[in-house]
Structure formats: C-alpha cells, structure tokens
Amino acid sequence: MIDPLIWLILLPLAWATLAFLLGPGRGARTAIAGLSLQLWLAFDLAMKIGAGGPALHAVGGWGAPLGIDLAADGLSAVMLLLAQSVALPLALYARAYFAPDKTETRYFWPLIGFLLAGLNALFLSADLFNLYVTLELVGLAAVGLVAAGGGAAQVAAALRYLFAALLGSSMYLLGVALIYGAYGTVSLVTLEPLLTADAPRIVWMAGGLMLAGLLLKTALFPFHYWLPPAHASAPAPVSALLSALVVKASFYLILRLWLGPFAPLVGALAWLPMLLGAGAIFWGSWQAIRTPHLKMLVAWSTVAQLGYLFLIFPLLATTGALQAGVMQAVAHGLAKAAMFMAAGVLIKATGQDMVAGLAGVAQRLPLTLFSFGLAGVTLMGLPPSAGFLAKWLLIEAALAQGYWFIALVALAGGLLAAGYVFRVLRQAFLLAPVAYAIAAVPRTLEWTAFALATASVLLGLRGVELMALLAAGSAP
C-alpha cells in the first residue's frame, strides 16, 4: 500500500531535513540509506507504470484545476529511474571524495537531499506553478552545491549560474502567469484540451517565454555561457550531479510541455531548438577540444551533448525521435556522471587539472581511465553503448522523415566527441615522465565511477525494457 510516487518526493525531503538536524558534515549514512530506498521506489514505480499505465495522484484529494495533480507516465518513470540510479553511486562517491571535516561538506548532504526531492517532484508534477516551485528548489540547491565552501572562482561561477537560473525561472513564471490569465488554470491536464492552435496571442508569448526560460536553464547554445564555469569549478561529485541530472530536468520540462499542452502551437517552431542544438554540438565540442583543463573539457562536452537532445524536436512526429531523446538523456546522464567522477579521481591523484598533466595515468589508474574511456564511448555514440542506440534512433528517425541534415549533424557530432575524448586518452597512454608521483585515492571513487560507466555501456546491449517503459503511456 506504499505509493512510490509520493514517497519519492517525501523521502528525500525527510532525510535532507534529518541530515540538517544531525548537524554540519553529518548525514552521509542517512542519505545513502534514503537513496537506496528511493532507487527501490523508482523501480517499483517503473514496474507499476509498465504494468498498469500512467498514474495520477490528486494531492489533497481535490484534483485539478482546484488542487495540484501529480502524474507519472513512462517518461517520468524513466527520468526518475535515471535520477535515483545516478544519485546513489554518486553519494557513495561523494562520501569517499570529501575529507570528513572540510567546509564544503558541512551542508552537502541536506543540499543533495533537497536537490533530489526537487528533481523527483519536478518529474512528477502536472501543475505549471508547482513546477515553478520545483524548478526553484532544483536551481537554488544546485547553485548552493556549486558555491559551498569554494574559492573566488567557484563563488563567481555560482553567482553567474544563479543569475542565469533566476532569469530563466522568472521567464517561466511570467509564462505561467499569462497562462493563468488566459485560461484560469495551471493544471497540465486541464489545459490540454483548452489550448488550441487558435490560442490568443498572449498564449504564444507565454509559450515563448517558458521555452526561452527553460532553454536558458538547460544551457542550450547560445544560452550555455553559465554552464562551463559552474560545472568545471564545482567539486567533482557536484559537477557530476549537475551535468547528469540538473540540466536534464529543464529539458524534461520542455519536452513535457512541447508534447503536452503546447503541442498545437509548436509545429513551425521545431526547427529553432534543432538549429540551436546543432550549434551546441559544434561549438561545445570545439571548445572541449580546445580547453586545456580536464574538467572544463568535460563541462564543454555537456554543452555539446545537450545539443543532441534538441535535434529530436522536428522529428517528434515519429515515436523513434522521443525514444532517441530519452535514450540520449539517460546515456548522457550515466556517462557524464561517470566521466566527471573519473575526472575527479584523476585530478585528486595527479594534484592538478590540466589535460597535459595526465601523461602516464593509464599505468597508474587503469580502472579510472577505463571508466573514462567507457563513458567516452557512450558520449561518442560508439557501439555497444546507450549513446550509440540514441544515435541510431535519432539518425533513423531523421532519415525516415527525409531530414538527412540532422543525421549528418549527429554523425559529425560523434566524430567531434571522439576529438575531445581521445585527447584525454591519448595523453593518459603516453609514457609517464620520470619521478612522477600519484597520490593514492580511495577505491570507492574508482569503482563507483566504473559502475556508472559500465551501466552506460551495458544499457546499449539491452534497451528494450527502457523503451517499453517509455511507451507505457505518453500522455498523463
């Protein structure tokens, strides 16, 4: 009689508060226990949705439009699964990564808890205003994690991130205000039949504002300026969480609105995200190929990989495109978390973060380098990996509708990704300079990164269940 849908929101809130009560630096064990339960809940929910279709929960028993609805369909179940399966290994990693009494960890665990709660609540909400609150919860927690205990560069990056996030959510909020003004409701379910192609102009503007705000939060090129400094300067576990999950949250919301209430309006607009996505792929990859810093490289790679998510928009008429987008979101989530974790190990071990300083790590940290390589395979979209399946689905959807241009971008993007992934691997395989010291790193760090990297590859051998779950109800 436990409804996983609700507990996925309440549980992280509960352990976050508990961790806060326990005091600074405490709460790791509580968090890990909570996250393990959440992972189980997410599987449970996926199972229920896979068997019984979409679920709707009217909070307070009121139901839309008076109350707030929580809704879970295949898409939300996939995202919830992704979030919990990335978060748990990441928590284990973070526990080993942070020295016990460093300032940056004083409130790390409650912050992670609020972030997870925000993400889960966002994936489950079917109410535009409630989504705004969850967006803020996610955004502020993410900014806090970037800033916590950092130096000037880190705080500056956090501020830049904060202003981007606030600008984005304010635009989204205005969109919600206009929608309420036009229709008198903010419930997605109620809105869907009301919002038609002959909607008043203000609704178009609302849609545009919400889209722009969310694109800013997703860091789609050219709104990506805040992402590389923030993701590169945060501690590795935080970077992993931000790149793997947080940017996906606003992408999920765009997709949800695009396929949901705004579907009648978006037809002509579909090329815009696609073109920006193509721009992101080229610009992000190019910057990743150029930057001398390891974590900056990984962060720019996120900018590029987010571009793929937006290539699907002109193709959404076929189910293959949605599958491609979701597969890419999952593949990138797992792989990028693993890559940031591996980068964190490399930086900890070598004591510096230049790509050029990695010579010889292949001999000393083979497992970590292997994880980095596996994650790279996914990002390059090479088989057998989830990234490859995503690319396959995308190209197939593009060719099936005659948009060979999109297929070309996807193929070229894979090659560019190889450019920056192999930049690192090549350096790592070089012979080590003489008198070369590498600090010992905890085993947990290496193995958790490896687990996620392996997952991103193995998913490429078995995507059927995930796609079946996604298909288990596209509309709430």
Partner: protein
Amino acid sequence: MKTAAIVIGAAAFAATMIAALLDLPPSAIHLPRLVDANLPVSGVTHPVTAVLLNFRGYDTMLEIGVLLLALLIVLAVGTHDGADAAPTADPMLQTFARLAASLMALVAVYLLWAGARQPGGAFQAGAVLAAAAVLLHLAGVLPAWREPGALLRSGLAAGFLVFLFVAMALLSQGTLLQYPHAAAGSLILLIEFALTISLGLILAGLFLFLSGGQGSDS
C-alpha cells in the same frame, strides 16, 4: 551596441505583450467559484489561507523547503571571518527595541490567529517575528548568529518537519495532504503555528547569519 539592442528588445517585448494583454478574452475556467464552493470543507474561512494550506498546500510545503534550503546555502557558503562586533546602541534605544519587539510578537500571534478567517497567517506572522529579531539585532540586544546549535536547527526545521510529518501521517489514508474534514481546521492551525516559528527563525536567520558571517558591521 549590445545595450541598445537589449533596451529596444525589452521595449518591443513590453509593447507587444501589452497589446496582447488588451485583447485577451475572459478565461474559460473561473477558479474563485470553485474555491468558494469548497471553502466550507477546507477547515478555514479565509480563501487565500484555504488555497495556501489546503487546496495548494503541497506548493506551500515545497516552498518552505525552498526557504529552508536558502538558509542552508547561506550557512554552507561559509561564515568564518569577520569579528563578531556586536553593535552597541544607547540603553534608551535598547529599551525601546525590546518594547517594540514584544509588541510585534503580539501582532504576530494575532496575525496567525486571524489568518484562518481574514488576511494574515503564518507568512505574515513569521515575517513580523523576523522583523522583531532584526530590530533587536540592530539595537544591539540580539547578537548576530554564527553556526546554529542543535536547538536552533530544530527550530529552523520545525515548521517544515511538522508539515512533512502531517503529510506522511495523512498518507495512511492514501492521499497526500488530504485532511480529514473534522480535523482540517486544527491540523492547518498546527501547521501554521509551527510554520510561524520556523518562518520567523529562518527569515531572521537569513539576516542574522549573513550579518554575523562575512559582514564587518560598522
């Protein structure tokens, strides 16, 4: 160049939107009627409170989470320099501040109590409490806060915890935050009471932690 483009863009945006606002037809759904219709079973008689704590209580719960989160981040960003220079003011002012603060506490209690029926409620009451704390600080009675102890942490989290606890307890009936009819009023009051204390502490904390942390107060 960039400046001009942004200013023109903003102006064009405003103009287009105002034009679009002016010919907006009435909305299809009229929620106030629904609110009125359900007000009798909400446990309170003031519609805004009913929306805040019952119809859309889930929003409010998350929002308290956001506030607590902001406080957490203020703490996490770090407060380890700057001497704790407690401002000293003259005794007259201190006496006045104490008096004013007691009055404000009374106002807060009233606001909380009145919130069920008329404008007011936890938010306003909490804000008034916080203002009282800020006033006391400015008058030199209340020093700035540093690292919170276990008691203060419990106080800060109490409102959110009570809210969360009520939500969990009510889940035994199957639905999130669905109050039983008979108990709705008292449950809402309980939540509001806890919220008032926590809101007051958090809002005051946002000021007092920041103030005690990095600022070298003059």
